[in-house]
Amino acid sequence: MASGTFTPVRKWLLLPTWVTIGFFLLLPILLVVVYSFLTKEFRGGVDWTFSLDAYDQFMFDRGLFGDEAPSIEWTYITIFFRSIVQALIATLFCLIIGFPTAYFIATRPASSRSIWVFLITVPYWVNLLIRTVSMKFLIRDNGPMNQGLMALGLIDTPIHLINTNIAVQLGLFYSYLPFMVLPIYASVERYNFALSEAAADLYASRWTILREVLIPSVKPGIIAGCILVFVPSLGAFLAPDLLGGAKTFMIGSLIEEQFKGTAGNWPFGAACAVILLTLVLMALTLYARAQSKERAQEQRAG
């Protein structure tokens, strides 16, 4: 029909998008996948010979000289597991703080909402590295936070946070909170508050309204926020690097190290990135499948 006439034009108009996606997204991913199957060059870089060494190194321990019987290598699996747990906790904290924040902003008068949204984004005008370093100075043993608490007499000795999981957690939370607030805000702003009134009118308590009416209605925003916080938290390296120590090592730092300077191992770094990408994609696919199943059930019911 009429739209058919425009199809060729539309195809050409989409060309810049396809070029951008191909050049800046697909090609780099392809390169990373290819590099993960190459042999490492000792001063960094790769030797173009096919090899599974990178994946082998991730999974198996063959002793210092590589001549022992392979046993499972737990070092990297532990780092991955720790990263997933850290990212999940960061997501949970962002949700607990982000949801009420988003609700608060969305329930302000329309004229002042944009100011609140602006205030949320203000810290992000400063580079993430600088913000993370500032956080380090704030929370270190003789930093303003501890000195202030001691001056107030609330504590006698400084609270030791630097190089702990809590410090990393704080860094992740601080870095990614707006990614939780903004999509939830967008959802709550579109929420029809008459639904809350209707529920109250039908004898629902405030808690029940939140659980049974508000949260189900803004679920897409909550899920978008969780994905937007979880995924970058999983691969974060600034917060664990600057605020954490050896015991808080995360995937992002592991990958970063492999590409930094001349000591790195490019194929191994690439293999870690591929494994991380696979895990994230699997989680998102499972979620998308669950969603479409739910939708299919609804349609069958209807």
Partner: protein, 367 residues
């Protein structure tokens, strides 16, 4: 003698500096189809929200069957609401929506199922109980909203312009159904609308509101036939409002003088006291005027008084099928609109002809 269903006593409501309700006091009777009628911004929806508990009064008290409810939150008031936007829960099925209130009240699953089934049958949605609201038409959503609000058997049902989103045909059909449902269940309905036709056809009593104040409270006939003031006369139906001065008073019958020196019999509201010389207006409905032959002095038999004839010049006619509207010029500044059924042969009237009109009923309005 049962208490009034809802008693509004000196209720005021301000939003910041904006006065939504100036002061209201009236009673809504048990088992009554009561309508709050007025233009948008008159405070009718605000009053409904005060009764439901979504807003709290600035001053005054609201009683429900003799019990003050001002301090109760909405979930503690045995009142349910049908919202203008329906406000159906989008993630729940029709049955879950209707059962929501019952579940909140702690009914057991069997009772909920029975009641939901009964409500679904009442609103004729039997085949749709497992659908989500988005899969229903506007009329069906409206029925779900009605069933959901009525399922917990509230003592008072509030309806906030529930028909305004429906098309004309469906709206007319729903009017009859709502009225029947109210009779059948005996629940007190408080219905908010800006549509006077809706109000006139459905209500036992109507409260006409404007600018946060009650203008008149009465039956459909009372507010149409005996409007209390210019606002009500103008807002309800079509009318001719003509400046008038009281010439003589005899109880509720007055003779007033119209521009051009005509004398006309009119009635006054029994609450209005007027003296000779008082200024005001007469309201004459276009269908209570008729055109008589200018050469006959014979008056229609249904008129009782002595002063009922006016002379005017025909300036325009509008043919409406069943009726014709004649626009007449009474004086330079005053026109009259006359609505005549097309079944009686009036003979052809030409623009510019002088005609004699007979006034069957007129109401003198002091304000």
């Amino acid at each position: 003698m049962p208490d009034a269903a809802v008693s509004i006593r000196g209720v005021k409501k301000n939003f910041g500096s904006f006065v939504a309700i100036r002061e209201l006091s009236f009673e809504i009777r048990d088992n009554e189809f009561f309508t709050l009628l007025g233009p948008s911004g008159c405070g009718k929806t605000t009053l409904l929200r005060l009764i439901a508990g979504f807003e709290s009064t600035t001053d005054g008290e609201i009683f429900l069957y003799g019990e003050e409810i001002e301090k109760l939150p909405p979930d503690k008031r045995p009142i349910n609401t049908v919202f203008q936007s329906y406000a159906l829960f989008p993630h729940m099925t029709v049955a879950e929506n209707i059962g929501f209130g019952l579940r909140m009240l702690g009914w057991n699953a069997t009772d909920i199922n029975n009641r939901v089934e009964q409500m679904i049958t009442t609103v004729k949605l039997d085949e749709f109980s497992h659908r989500k609201p988005a899969q229903l038409s506007g009329g069906q959503q409206q029925r779900v909203a009605l069933a959901r609000a009525m399922a917990p058997q509230p003592r008072v049902l509030l309806l906030d312009e529930p028909l305004s989103a429906l098309d004309l045909k469906l709206r007319q059909q729903m009017r009859a159904e709502l009225k029947a449902l109210q009779k059948e269940t005996g629940i007190t309905f408080i219905f908010v609308t800006h549509d006077q036709e809706e109000a006139l056809t459905m209500s036992d009593r109507i409260a006409v509101m404007s600018a946060g104040e009650l203008q008149q409270l009465g039956t459909a006939t009372q507010i149409y036939e005996e409007p209390a003031n210019r606002f009500v006369a103008n807002f309800i139906g079509e009318t001719n409002l003509i400046d008038a001065t009281i010439h003589s008073v005899n109880g509720q019958q007055v003779v007033c003088e119209l521009p051009g020196g005509f004398l006309l019999d009119a009635r006054i509201d029994n609450s209005t006291a007027v003296n000779t010389g008082a200024q005001g207006a007469v309201s004459i409905r276009p269908e209570r005027l008729s055109i008589v032959a200018p050469d006959t002095s014979q008056q229609p038999t249904n008129h009782q008084g002595d002063h009922s004839l006016l002379n005017a010049t025909l300036i325009d006619t509008t043919y409406l099928g069943t009726d014709t509207i004649y626009s007449l010029k009474l004086t330079e500044d005053h026109n009259l609109s006359v609505r005549v059924q097309n079944n009686n042969a009036l003979g052809s009237k030409a623009i510019g002809d002088t005609v004699t009109v007979c006034v069957e009923a007129a109401q003198f309005l002091a304000q």
